[in-house]
Amino acid sequence: MALRLRVFDIRLIIALLIGVYGLVITIMGLWFTSDADLEKSAGININLWAGLGMLVASAAFLVWTWLRPLAGPDESATDDDEESAEASAG
């Protein structure tokens, strides 16, 4: 138990994936959105807005991980439950 390697912090993985997604589609929204695209999505630049939303979500996970890092290998992640209500309610 004590020697077992801590795998990783799943919060970082989530931040990574959502962050990459957010970045890519924000760029798509800013520079690669044609009028046809806009018309398709009811006039809103969904890539841009969803991308910004994902960047914010990704940053939130980073801040959470930074504020409450995982404890030692024995006691992984003992301390992150109160945010879960918000995280899960979203």
């Binding site: 994936l17 959502i18 589609i25 999505s41 807005w49 992640a77 439950d81 899960s88 309610a89």
Partner: protein, 567 residues
């Protein structure tokens, strides 16, 4: 279940979309590989070494259920029935999840059993255990097949691969990470999947609402379309239940769906309970389904609403097409309600978001299938192989065997994927399965947990009578002796199975000898000391915001508010 298989549904994905998809698959396999380093005993493999925090198991609890059937099936129901579909979430899930966390989890987690059938073994002995283990295993393989088929259908649409190739490739991906990392890999992926699904469906819902003129516009269009105003009110939900009388419909929803079906599913289904058993403490285990209930309350908004939007804005589904489908005829366009989500994605999302939406769908299908596999391999290895066939081997043997079983189950699921393809309405099919396996199971569990007089013989006789009853109702309604459109047949079947199980169990109990009290400690309410049912409230379990009862109260109030708003 038939997905429109022609070019109409081909999503116009480009290189960016595929790159986003590839990112996702890389991470999924990476999690499987990383989790593998943590697996050194069979308990690590099957129950994540009982080490995970409550928010992780809570989200996994929800994501395991947020599979293909839920996402495609519930958006299909949204297109077909409208708002009443939310009953599957608010009355058909939340109360049972809270009950699991508050009342039942102390027995599951406290008795240290490794699976739900193992609880059955300790409480009722071998016959009941075998019935439970075998029926559960069979159901999982069937459901894994449905999930696999849907996963393959989407890959087929996207890449134009033949369905058999898509089935095998998707099965191989799920198998790789579940066999490598066991339950931890499945659970961590479920948490990731949850966020990808939200990232995919939330923007889709927002764009869709814009398109139909906001919430007001949607309500207007649905009310004035086929199906009418009943589709924007939660109660009494006649179209959903298939009962003409309002009273019968409400009773069907409250007792059939809200009590028997939902309690049967959420409190005894090892797919779900396994996630809670992987939690690191009693408190975390109790909070698992309760934390999960919060996203569950809000999921209807990103699943059902897109379905409703599709029903009034997608050319192939609106107007005369919806009218024909509601009358149980083929739509002139050839589309079915099951296509609702894909058609809406095709219509609304530009490249970029499209890739994320496809990733979200594939994520959801993999989540469902991985959950089926990871619970099946546990039950098969511990409850069938270790208990009856090959006993007393070292732990490493069962760990290796568990990986092999995962592979075997995948092959079987590939077989059932083709069975699933011949059923018209996914939810009907699944509801039938629930009424077969879960309603009588819940009757037996709840009686066994609270009535110490209930005997071992009553355990299995009651269970078998319940299952036989459910099958009888199913056969009668399929062969046309009764006709109940919508989901009514499942409600009636489940209700009958529940009642028969209780009556038979009580009768048999009085005719047979009960187990001695000493063997029932920790398994029956009145024989479990209060301190064994409670959780610690210190350290990582301290704080009012980690109090299961308080959290459950908040969830319950939220659910009631939802019912009032959408009544």
């Amino acid at each position: 279940m038939s997905i429109l298989a022609d070019a109409n549904l081909r999503l116009d994905a480009n290189a960016v979309d595929f790159a986003l998809l590839a990112c996702y698959f890389l991470l999924v396999l990476g999690i499987g590989y990383a989790a593998r380093r943590r697996v050194s005993t069979s308990l690590d493999f099957f129950l994540s070494g009982r080490s995970l925090p409550a928010w992780v198991t809570g989200l996994a609890f929800i994501a395991a259920n947020l599979g293909a059937i839920e996402v495609m099936g519930m958006s299909a129901n949204g297109a077909q029935y409208g708002i009443p579909t939310a009953h599957y979430f608010w009355i058909g899930a939340v109360p049972a999840m809270l009950f699991l966390g508050i009342v039942m989890m102390p027995f599951y987690y406290g008795s240290k059993v490794r699976s739900v059938p193992e609880f059955m073994l300790r409480r009722f002995g071998k016959p009941a255990h075998l019935v439970n283990a075998i029926s559960f295993g069979t159901a999982q393989i069937l459901i894994a097949g449905i999930n696999l088929f849907l996963l393959a259908s989407v890959i087929d649409l996207l890449l134009g691969w033949p369905i058999w190739l898509s089935v095998i490739v998707s099965a191989a991906i799920v198998l790789t990470y579940t066999a490598l990392g066991g339950l931890s890999a499945a659970i961590y992926n479920e948490v990731l999947q949850f966020f990808v699904i939200v990232a995919a469906l939330l923007p889709l819902t927002i764009v869709g609402l814009y398109k139909v003129g906001g919430w007001e516009g949607l309500v207007d269009k649905v009310s004035n379309g086929p199906g009418g105003e009943a589709q924007v009110h939660l109660w009494p939900g006649n179209q959903l239940t298939g009962f003409e009388s309002n009273l019968a419909s409400v009773l069907g929803l409250v007792f059939g769906l809200g009590f028997v079906l939902s309690f049967g599913y959420w409190t005894t289904n090892f797919v779900e309970v396994q996630r809670a058993m992987a939690a690191k403490s009693m408190s975390a285990a109790r909070r698992t389904p309760i934390i999960g209930s919060f996203p569950k309350i809000f999921i209807p908004f990103i699943v059902i609403i897109p379905g409703m939007i599709a029903g009034v804005s997608v050319t192939e589904l609106m107007g005369e097409n919806k009218e024909a489908l509601l009358a149980e005829q083929a739509a002139p366009s050839g589309a079915t309600f099951n296509d609702a989500l894909l058609l809406l994605i095709r219509d609304l999302l530009p490249n970029g978001m499209l890739g994320i939406a496809i990733a979200g769908l594939l994520a959801s299908f993999m989540a469902g299938m991985a959950a089926n596999l990871s619970s099946f391999n546990t039950v098969f290895t511990y409850d069938i192989w270790q208990d009856y066939l090959v006993r007393d081997r070292d732990d490493g043997y069962y760990l290796r065997f568990g990986r092999l079983v995962t592979a075997g189950a995948t092959v079987l699921a590939i077989g059932t994927a083709f069975i699933a393809s011949s059923y018209a309405n996914l939810m009907d099919y699944l509801q039938q399965l629930f009424s077969f396996f879960n309603a009588p199971l819940f009757a037996t569990f709840i009686l066994g947990m609270f009535w110490r007089r209930m005997t071992a013989t009553a355990g299995w006789v009651g269970l078998v009578s319940g299952i036989v009853t459910a099958v009888t109702v199913f056969v009668l309604s399929e062969s046309g002796v009764w006709t109940l459109p919508g989901q009514g047949a499942a409600f009636v079947g489940a209700g009958a199975a529940f009642v028969v199980d209780i009556v038979v169990s009580v009768g048999v109990s009085y005719a047979t000898a009960p187990k001695p009290d000493s063997e029932l400690a920790g398994l029956v309410w009145s024989l479990t000391p209060k301190k064994d049912r409670q959780h610690t409230t210190t350290g990582a379990d301290a704080g009012w915001y980690r109090n299961p009862a308080l959290l459950a109260g908040i969830a319950l109030v939220l659910t009631i508010i939802m019912n009032i708003i959408f009544a």
